[in-house]
């Protein structure tokens, strides 16, 4: 059955007709055409499909599109500023070698963002727990953890990451 839902997609208000059985991953990739969100296992084990719904990281492969009604959705495409300036977490992944083949990167970065938005001074343990549900088959975990640590304010006075408020249009550091 089809019905209409409204939601905020990367800061933009959307209204569209969806089918009840669509997953959020299907909605994002196949209907909206944003392919930064990846499908790995399709069963909640790998985290490649991680997106942020109302400040919480979720597996979009196990989340029904119908449930996004009235909520805010952030995908990897929503992180960089309109002029292409990368989000500080993205920049850190590039600088610290947190990216190898790149397949896990969108999920890793969104798990890191959900963590740092809530806990700007996340410790290494916090970081490891936050990305426990994201698999990297290149096994570059050390660089990924370093990338996130570099933008966490743990042990410092001022956190590096300024939380984005996509609903109010604020972007960048």
């Amino acid at each position: 059955m089809a019905h209409e839902i409204s939601f905020i997609f990367n800061g933009n208000a959307m209204k569209m007709n969806i089918e009840d059985h669509w997953t959020l991953l299907h909605l994002i990739r196949e209907e909206l055409g944003y392919t930064g969100t990846k499908e790995g296992c399709g069963s909640g084990e790998c985290g490649a499909c991680t997106v942020i719904v109302d400040d919480k990281a979720v597996n979009s492969c196990l989340y029904l599109a119908a449930e996004i009604d009235g909520k805010q959705l952030t995908t990897i495409e929503g992180l960089a500023a309109a002029d292409g300036t990368l989000h500080p977490i993205q920049k850190s992944f590039v600088e610290k070698g947190g990216i190898q083949c790149g397949f896990c990167s969108p999920g890793m970065i969104l798990s890191a963002k959900a963590l740092l938005d809530k806990t700007p001074n996340a410790s290494e343990i916090d970081i490891k727990e936050a990305i426990a549900g994201n698999l990297c088959r290149c096994t570059g975990y050390v660089q990924i953890i370093d990338s996130i640590k570099a933008v966490s304010g743990y042990g410092e006075d001022e956190p590096h990451v300024v939380a984005f408020k996509t609903d109010e249009g604020e972007r960048g550091e």
Binding site: D20, G44, N59, L64, K128, A132
Partner: protein, 294 residues
Amino acid sequence: MRQFTYLTPKTLDEAISLHVAHGESARYVAGGTDVLVKIKEGKFAPDYLISLKHIIGQDRPFLNQETGELYIGAFCTHGSIEQSPLVQHHYPIIHDAVKNIGSVQIRNVATIGGNLVNAVPSADGAIPLIVLDSKANIYGTKGQRSVDLQRFFLGPGQCDLEAGEILTEIVIPPPLPRTGSAYIKHGRREAMELPMLGVGVLLCLEEDMTTCAKARICLGVAAPTPFRALAAEKYLKGKTVDENNLTEAGRLAGQESKVRDSIRGVAWYRREMVGVLVKRMGLKALERAKERHK
């Protein structure tokens, strides 16, 4: 994925009447992290999914001020239980278990009720709740009933729910004085792992703070359903809680458990580890009881 109609009732009665109307072609769903996987695998083929997520008032733990009982709505996510100050402060054993279920992404969506009604031998959520003598409230066409959570599990994948009935909440008795409890999930790796063994221990002490007044030992993955180690509990009652007595209790628990060989671990190793972990959790429970009593 297979096509289905997604229904979002706002009340329990509405959910139940939808189930009555659609019969076997309908299935309840809460977080969906198990149900959607099973639909994708072809194990479930519902025409209607009845969501329980939109039912009002069952989505966070709250304290009954009159009775002191903690109510955990069945549609609470593991994440909301993990972050509940009430749970962290009064029932750290529940926090021990829920913080290690799945990943952050799963815990943000999956519910405690879903974990329980799946009734898998490895359900991490069940063990601490049984250790705490919790009850399960169930609602159906015949009204509400309550069962001891321990009796809720009938076999692997089978629980005490009639067709159309809904597990609505878990009721946990007020914390006992001079009491501590702890849970450990034992596996080969720390993240994204089902337990090879789950061990929960509760110790309630006499006023001397050394003698055991009441013990609860519950094991996961040690039998087809969550398993109370009654001989070990009986052994501890009235004895001094120390390393020697906890070692013997652990040995008894290993002996009476019904561990078996499986892909995640072999029986002899599991039996040995029941002994080790019952003692370890017993010592942690003792430490927590003393901390709380200060």
